[in-house]
Symmetry: C2
DNA sequence: TATAAGCTGGACAAAGATGTCCGATTGAGT
DNA sequence: ACTCAATCGGACATCTTTGTCCAGCTTATA
C-alpha cells in the first residue's frame, strides 16, 4: 500500500532521530537501515528539498533532522517523498461534481483520509518512546553490541 | 494510495452491479466507466480468475458478478487485482522477529489493517443503496437520459 | 594548500505498472 | 454449417518506480 520509497524515507528519519542534532552520513544510514546506498541518497535529497532534514556538506557532513523528532509527523515524511493524494473530484472526469463524490469514491477517499490522519498525528518522537513489550525490535545486533536501532 | 488497476476494478464491478444477473460486454463497461477498453479486458480476466465475476463467452456474452452485490466486499475486489499486503514481519529481513514489529512498522501495519477492514466490511450493495444528498453522482448523463450509474 | 569525506545531480539500467494490438477460441443465432 | 459477437491470452509499447554509477562540488582537517 505504501511505496518502497516511503518505507525507505521513514526508516531513514527513524535512524536520524536517534541523535538528531548530529549529522549522519548517507552510507551509515544505509548500513543501519539495510537499503541501497545510492537510492537512499536520492531519497535524502527529496527529504532535504522538502525541509524535513537538512544537509551538512563537506567532511564530517551528512544529514540531520531539521527539527526535533517530537515535532516531525510521519505524514510530513511521507508527503515529502510520495504525497498521499486525496480524491477531491470525480476521477471519471465529470465536470460539475465539485466535492460531491459518488458513494464509491467517497468511500475510497474516507479510507485515504483516515490513513492521512493516522500519520498526521503520529510523531517520530512517539515511535521512539513507545515502550512495547519486546523493545529491541528491528535492530540487527542480537547480542549486546552497539545501540539498538528501534526502527 | 490505490493503484489505477484497483480503481478500474472497482468501477467495473460497480457497473456490473446495476443488474448483476446479466452479462455485460467489456466494451459496454469500458464506455460506462471511461477506461481503456483493452486494459479493462485484462482487469476483468483477473477478476474472473479470482472468482469475483464469471465470464460468459460467445455471442451475447460478457462478464457478470459471481454473486449478489450484497455479498461482495470491496476488499475481495481489491485483493483480486492488487492484494493489500500486510506487514507480517520485519522488512529489514531480520530473522527471529516473528510478529514482533518495531514501533514504526507496527504503526504502518495498523494503518494497513484499518484500511483493509474498512473495505472488508463494505459491500458493493451498500454503495448502491447509499442515499447521499447528491444522488446522481459520477454518471455521465446530465439531463434525464438513461439510468444513473451511481459509481 | 592538499587530501579525504561527504553531498549534488545527471545519466542510465532494470523492473514493474499501464496501455495497445491482434489472432485464436468459444458459443448463440441464423 | 456459417457467421458474428464476445472472451482469451500472448506479444509488445510506454511510462513510472526503483536502483546504479560517476564526475563534480563543498568543507573539515592536517
Amino acid at each position: 500500500m505504501f511505496s518502497h520509497t516511503v518505507e525507505y524515507a521513514l526508516r531513514a528519519v527513524a535512524a536520524l532521530a536517534e541523535d538528531w542534532e548530529r549529522p549522519h552520513a548517507v552510507q551509515k544510514i544505509a548500513e543501519r537501515t539495510k537499503m541501497p546506498n545510492d537510492y537512499l541518497a536520492k531519497v535524502m535529497q527529496a527529504l532535504c528539498r522538502a525541509g524535513v532534514v537538512k544537509a551538512i556538506r563537506g567532511r564530517h557532513g551528512g544529514y540531520q533532522l531539521a527539527q526535533s523528532p517530537e515535532k516531525l509527523s510521519l505524514l510530513e515524511v511521507i508527503n515529502a517523498v510520495d504525497p498521499i493524494k486525496r480524491i477531491d473530484r470525480c476521477p471519471l472526469g465529470l465536470a460539475g461534481h465539485g466535492s460531491n463524490l459518488c458513494p464509491l469514491h467517497r468511500r475510497l477517499d474516507d479510507a485515504i483520509r483516515e490513513t492521512e490522519n493516522a500519520f498526521r498525528f503520529t510523531t517520530l518522537g512517539e515511535l521512539l518512546q513507545s515502550t512495547g513489550p519486546v523493545r529491541p525490535l528491528c535492530p540487527i545486533e542480537p547480542a549486546g553490541s552497539l545501540i539498538n536501532v528501534a526502527l
